[in-house]
């Protein structure tokens, strides 16, 4: 891999790359369409959760500190799942890069997708208003700002109810956080996709710097077959004898030096200089070269997704390579752990704080009372009231401060808390089995008051006089 070539440097302020047709262009278009579709349309999917819960299938509720994903609801304590997802994403990136170079960069990276979109906008502006005219420049800006605003809106839509977002955005009443989200995303999209474009890949992104550690001789990367193409020369020069041409001192290889591969490259690299950091592996140069080769009546794939082992003939090993097996196995383990984590997500969180100041209180009739603060958070579809009973303390009665009975009313709320009082009558004190220090382990049994189903058991202690 070489650093930026002199040609790349000269090309920093180059024009918009030429459009190209072909196989990889089609793949790129389909993938980009799919990803943009997901980005803009997923927030519009509705999901009825009842009550005053958000009706959006996928939503990050930042003020409520929860994340909705269809039937699932995630809370901050589920953050390890996000870690698992990120590990999975990283491993997937490693695996894909090991197999086929920077396909992530070339096809799926948001920077690539948006840059591609903005290139299209620029070409459209040029076609409408005439290339190089002030009108075209103005029209480009119109597209830039329009697409950036749309992106800002689309991003904010993941964080709030999308159906009312346009109204709130235009008519006011949007929280400053959301307004800032739209503004920041609009600005960064304008700057990164409109202004910086491939310079993000060349100068800002860390990924090109460490991709070389993942590539090996069997990795499929965009490669120019220099053995077949060199020496390059004008079309009128005779073709090399070993390629079926007349040969001679001035004979050329298959490359006619038309520079199409360079002209269509979104990052402005000349792939004929070899694999280099600027190459994002999108394969557009392959399409461009195949087109030229076809017109010349020569076989295609002078530039191709090929491995070093493929160009220098050697048996190719695609899959059974240690790196791929290791990454694959690590991904399987991560998926298994994530699956377990998803299944083990706690639907009900109970927080029981014994009030130990004083440790217990004696009432007029000689009975002993322990107070606790009980907090219940849940993400069940319906839980209007929690009934609490105590196991392991015969004769004890349970009472909440507010309801004055053994139930904690939640109603439509997802959480509730109250003072819980457990009273042990005087005549049950001796038979309750308190130890020498006056302690006894107890289990609070929380049931859904409506269905009687046990939703949680919580261990604690009852303290009495020693």
């Amino acid at each position: 891999m070489v650093a930026l070539s002199a040609r790349d440097k000269a090309a920093r302020r180059r024009p918009v790359p030429l459009p190209v047709k072909g196989r990889y262009r089609r793949i790129k278009t389909v993938v980009a369409g799919l990803l943009l579709g997901l980005f803009f349309l997923v927030p519009w999917i509705r999901w009825d959760r009842g009550g005053d819960m958000p009706g959006q299938a996928v939503m990050f509720d930042v003020p409520g500190r929860r994340f909705f994903f269809f039937g699932l609801e995630f809370w901050p304590q589920d953050l390890p799942l996000v870690l698992g997802l990120m590990v999975l994403g990283a491993l997937g990136l490693f695996l894909a890069t090991t197999i086929s170079g920077r396909v992530w960069c070339g096809f799926t990276c948001p920077q690539t997708v948006w840059t591609d979109l903005f290139f299209t906008g620029d070409r459209l502006a040029d076609r409408i208003a005439g290339k190089g005219t002030p009108a075209a420049k103005a029209l480009r800006q119109v597209f830039w700002i329009g697409l950036s605003l749309l992106t800002g809106f689309g991003f904010a839509a993941w964080f709030t109810d999308v159906t009312t977002l346009p109204g709130r955005l235009l008519g006011g009443g949007l929280s400053s956080g959301l307004f800032g989200t739209v503004a920041v995303l609009t600005a960064t999209t304008w700057a990164l996709a409109g202004y910086a474009r491939e310079r993000v890949c060349l100068h800002m992104c860390p990924w090109p710097r460490f991709q070389s550690a993942l590539l090996d001789a069997d990795t499929l990367v965009v490669t120019y077959d220099s053995g077949r193409g060199e020496p390059r020369g004008k079309k009128r020069l005779p073709l090399r004898a070993d390629l079926g041409g007349p040969g001679g001192d001035t004979a050329r290889g298959d490359c006619v030096d038309c520079n199409k591969c360079f002209a269509v490259c979104p990052t402005g690299v000349d792939i004929r200089d070899g694999l280099q950091m600027g190459c994002i592996g999108c394969g557009l140069c392959i399409d461009a070269c195949d087109d030229v080769m076809g017109k010349l009546g020569r076989p295609g794939r002078l530039i191709d997704f090929a491995s070093e082992a493929g160009v220098v003939p050697k048996p190719r090993r695609l899959l059974p390579r240690p790196k791929i097996l290791i990454f694959g196995a690590a991904m399987m383990v991560t998926i298994a752990l994530l699956g377990y984590g998803l299944l083990a997500v706690q639907k009900v969180t109970v927080d029981l704080q014994p009030q130990r100041n004083p440790p217990f209180v004696r009432l007029s009739d000689g009975s002993v009372r322990n107070d606790y603060l009980l907090r219940v958070d849940h993400r069940l579809p319906a839980l209007a009231a929690v009934a609490v009973s105590v196991a392991g303390l015969p004769g004890a009665t349970v009472r909440f401060g507010e309801s004055e009975g053994p139930t904690l009313a939640l109603g439509e709320d997802r959480s509730g808390s109250d003072r819980l009082m457990i009273t042990l009558p005087r005549n049950a004190l001796d038979t309750a089995g308190l130890d020498a220090d006056g302690h006894k382990p107890i289990i609070l049994v929380l049931t859904n008051a409506a269905t009687g189903r046990v939703i949680e058991r919580e261990n604690s202690y009852f303290w009495g006089p020693p």
Partner: protein, 289 residues
Amino acid sequence: MASPERDPVTGYKTTGHEWDGIKELTTPIPHWWVSVFLATVGIAIVYLYLMPSFAGVKGFLPGALEWSSSKQLAEDQAVAAAAQAGWRKRILETPLAEIEADPDLRRFAVTGGRALFNENCAPCHGVGAGGQQGQFPALIDDDWLWGGKIEDIHQTISHGIRNEDDDSRQSTMPSFADILAPEQIDQVADYVRALSDPSQEATRTAMPGAKVFTDNCASCHGDHGQGGREFGAPTLNDAIWLYGGSKQAIISQVTHPRMGVMPTFAARLDEATIRMLATYVHTLGGGER
């Protein structure tokens, strides 16, 4: 030493230093870096001017903005008070007995009351309102010297007990050292202990202390030791003993009575705060309807 010259290869100037034919290039720090550095110096000067900075012999330079953390605190407290104003108004307008019936109001009063309790009441009654044996009564049990209804608690907090406030709770237990003979005090102590022992229910009327009790104590503490709240006379037939339930403790109390005092809080706290405190104390588990 050679004079500075331009190096033809890099285009940079040399420093003019030369050792054995090796010249030193001067590669200046980029302009943007120098500008940022100078800008930070400028910002620091402006900051010194605006904010409290240098210490002097007396005090310190307050800075042009005259910012201070105590002013900031006062501002933050004013903001918080303004945010609570609506709630406090509702607390004032709602009859005491109905505050707890409104879940939102109850939550505000109890949450705020807990903080206020820790500030104003916890030094004597304890953070958990457990009181202190021999000193201050527990507020989470179901025994009340001066009444456990929310109105009673409100009255006690507002005006206190045995202080200069005309509306404070007043009563005095006389010293019986001059009224009763020591053996009578001994007998009445035995009787008072028997009052709360169910197993002596049938036999205690025959005890010698019973008559002493009826003659001297029942007028305040009741015929059966059930207490008298109008005098703050504690219940004697229950399991709760503020100054101890041993015979010795009872003798000591009869001989040289101790009586609690509590300051009047109406002079320190506003009405809404007292109402919140009363609500909190009432919800601690011993409140009466």
